[in-house]
Symmetry: C2
């Protein structure tokens, strides 16, 4: 039932909106639509510049948009069905908010005139969206839809990036809308840095015996790594990356920058008595509060900011290196192939085998502590690669982020290093990878437990009885990862030994026509 007169040849709001999004730089839409998004679904065929990618669950869509945005620095759209559809995507939007990833959520809503009747699917979308959205708007008319869309895209690309959520009632998608497409005329400004801050840090360096640089955001680019390495070599300062960076380059001869430890005791010891220079990172805070330990991992008066997240922290580091007359680094060490003895599979062996296997330009989405830490430790010796981590702690981020990165960068090989517990939250990612023929290599560490919870129970001094113990165990029944993969049309291999995994990784690298999953069974 089209609601414009047959003689009205103006395009619908949905078409105009998608055209506006495309003009502003959106070329992918991760979608899980319902009835209130049908005009937008129909419009996708009139705006082929926007590629639709279907997710079976909304958390797959929002996580994929996060991975996409981290790689390209511009937003993918999501298309979600009213409040409950948005709600299913919120956990990964929480991670995206912490990663400062540009994302444009398009949330369909009831027809504007239908909302007041509180039909079954009605809910307070704004209340749901606000906590995870830096920008929020509900469209109030078809005439505004085009500008709203442009504003949403631009808002997502502010400095730093953010999640933008646009709620579009279905009647405004259907109504005819003005035809002239306004472009996002002002270019997004290039990131900059503060010369004054660089000078101030330069002066402070001389008066502190111990200096730690805490790097995040653009400081973890290749340029940032190289400049930070020069500074460290010239001054003796120590370099750490945020514990959970949105994106960091690594390997290929780049300086080996360790992550700030996760548990507060170790992090406090790293930062103790140091001048802490924040380059693209914020003040380090304990992940959780533990009685008797401070939340602030470094005293506030020990902190100084070289560059904020979103600013050109890499250029600020280069400028600081210049001021220090820090020599250029010698060519980085060649990649090291680890010798991993045959035998039972351990987290360390997994980390090293994956490090050995990475082709140059690989992207590795890391979620799950069991193998994540050993891999990152090993991978400084690997070929140049990009690591994406879980920035916000909402579990179920690793597989969708890998999916989105693979859509963003079809010329690069994508790996997802994942634990069995965390993979379950957005397991539906496998299907979209298969459907889109994305050659993602999924490595699932199977230890049949929530390892972190067992650790935390121990830290709390709780002696777990049968109920507590069972809440941390995934062994009854164990997941059959080969069967799960088959269920979603993904080929899979099981590795129980070093030899198995070496073989499986070689197989996986040869498999370029779609995803492949490797179950890595720890004893």
């Amino acid at each position: 039932m089209p609601i414009q007169a047959a003689s009205d040849t103006r395009p619908s709001g949905a078409v105009v909106a998608l055209q506006a999004a495309a003009s502003a730089g959106v070329s992918v839409c991760f979608a899980n639509p319902g009835t209130t998004e049908m005009p937008l679904v129909g419009a996708l065929d009139q705006v082929p510049a926007v590629r639709a990618v279907l997710g079976l669950f909304e958390g797959v869509c929002t996580g994929a948009a996060d991975g996409y945005g981290r790689m390209l620095g511009r937003p993918a759209a999501t298309l979600l069905h009213l409040g409950p559809g948005l709600a299913n995507g919120l956990a990964n939007l929480h991670n995206a908010r912490r990663a400062r990833t540009p994302i444009l959520n398009i949330v369909g809503d009831h027809a504007s005139w239908h909302l007041k009747y509180d039909a079954p699917l009605t809910s307070d979308i704004e209340s749901l969206a606000r906590p995870m959205s830096g920008w929020y708007r509900a469209v109030v008319g078809a005439e505004q839809l085009q500008q709203d869309m442009v504003d949403g895209v631009r808002a997502s690309m502010s400095t730093p990036g953010q999640v933008a959520t646009l709620v579009v009632p279905v009647d405004f998608q259907q109504l005819p809308a003005p035809q002239q497409v306004r472009r996002a005329d002002q270019a997004v400004p290039a990131p900059a840095f503060s010369e004054a801050r660089v000078t101030a840090v330069r002066q402070m360096l001389t008066s502190h015996a111990k200096v730690v640089f805490l790097l995040g955001d653009r400081a973890l680019s290749e340029r940032g790594h190289m400049a930070a390495g020069r500074i460290a070599a010239a001054t003796g300062a120590r370099l750490y990356s945020e514990t959970f960076p949105a994106r960091t380059e690594r390997g290929g001869g780049l300086p080996d920058i360790d992550r700030l430890p996760y548990f507060p005791e170790a992090a406090i010891s790293v930062l103790k008595d140091a001048l802490v220079v924040l380059a693209g990172a914020i003040a380090p805070i304990a992940y959780f509060g533990y009685e008797g330990l401070p939340s602030e991992l470094a005293p506030p008066d020990s902190l100084t900011t070289l560059a904020l997240p979103g600013e050109a922290a890499d250029q600020a580091l280069e400028r600081l290196a210049e001021l220090l007359d820090a020599p250029t680094l010698p060519a980085g060490a060649a990649c090291v192939e680890y010798t991993v003895p045959d035998g039972v599979l351990t987290p360390q062996a997994i980390g090293r085998l994956l490090s050995n296997a990475l082709p140059a330009g690989a992207i590795v989405s890391v979620e799950g502590g069991t193998c994540g830490y050993p891999f990152v430790t090993a991978s400084s010796q690997a070929a140049h690669h990009t690591i994406l981590t879980n920035t916000g702690g909402a579990i179920g981020q690793g597989l969708p982020v890998a999916l989105g990165a693979a859509v963003a960068c079809p010329e690069r090989r994508v790996f997802a290093l994942q634990s069995d517990g965390s993979a379950q939250y957005t397991i539906q990612s496998l299907w979209t990878m298969a459907r889109e023929r994305l050659p993602v290599v999924m490595l699932i560490t199977s230890n049949r437990r929530y390892g972190i919870l067992q650790t935390e129970l121990g830290r709390s001094g709780i002696e777990p009885g049968p109920q507590a113990q069972r809440l941390t165990l995934l062994d009854d029944p164990p997941f059959d990862w080969l069967a799960l993969a088959q269920g979603y049309g993904v080929p899979a291999l099981r590795a129980q030994t070093v030899e198995d995994l070496r073989f499986a990784l070689a197989k996986a690298l040869d498999h370029t026509t779609g995803p492949i999953l490797i179950e890595m069974r720890l004893a």
Copy 2:
């Protein structure tokens, strides 16, 4: 690191809180905990009256609590990890809100003194919780925790039931708390009805040629069915149930009460020119707004309320039947076994075969339109059973609700009649069913599409091009349901013909030691 002195033998806030919940009637906790819930996890072993059931994804926990609460009329608890954990459970809490199910969400939070530092997992939990929670409270001290818990349980059991959300910072879980357990001393009042309303309806009946009773909530109990049947027989009034009742009895000789049609054209025609008597139902509203059709399916001045949701609508109907001197109904017709000819599987055949197979006292969770409507049409002739439907339209409700119903009613057989698209949102339900050895029979209609979206595209007059079409199709790759079931430790059978399904249903009924899945492939 326990934070009470060794000499302090008072139990922790977590223990006191769980004891309070148990005393107030909570005996099951559907849990997906994280670090900030560890004291509550540990406390579960000191309060064995509360059974912990682990879900791999929070939507499984909240949906299970919905199914549990619908069957028992008292809340299960959920245990969720901060804002993102709650967020993953919101879609099924939306359904529970529409079902008016009593649920007590227990959401752990950062230590109260840690919140201000905006650690990675921090978010605005209240903003997330409010849209789906009739009652919300954040605990402000260990001393209040016990009372807060009792208040939360009682709030969830208000008239009608509602979702109550209690946010518990981890430090208050750890701190010692007063030992005397206060009980919820006032009994929850029994539901009542208004005699005046009954009298008023009695008078109106005489002056209207066409009368439709729209039944919901307690009017769909066995008593409500029988009383409504008497009224219809005596007056010629027509009976309809809400389109998506939280719970309805059916079969076993009960009057056959059809559901109000889903699409507005048909619903409007049913209600046209009638006096519409609302018994436990609210004013009927179109599920979605369609241009040119009213949102209100019956004019407001045609509506009169006999009993509100939460009130004793069944007793009100009985009283009305008395006032009408309506004779007692003759004994209901015996169950009818449908003759289903061998051959290809159709939705109608599926509905009838399942109707034939239901043992007395079965519970059927219905989600997905393809087979849902034909089944409900058929099942008036089945043995007495209870049907639970998707009340709020947030997809992914059917499997968890079946899980929760099976935990609530171990003596009854539970079926989940489900479509392939909707089953994917909370597919992790299979694992918890296997783990808890719940003999749920899952019937998955495999039509490899989002059938409702294809219908809605057609209604919108959209001629789908390749992108729109692909967003409604699930055939590339098709799900392998046998493999998915195996992945979660659930035995499974595939049925492509009537003979197959007859065989599979017989097998499934014999399988009483855990869940079983039947993939029903439509052509």
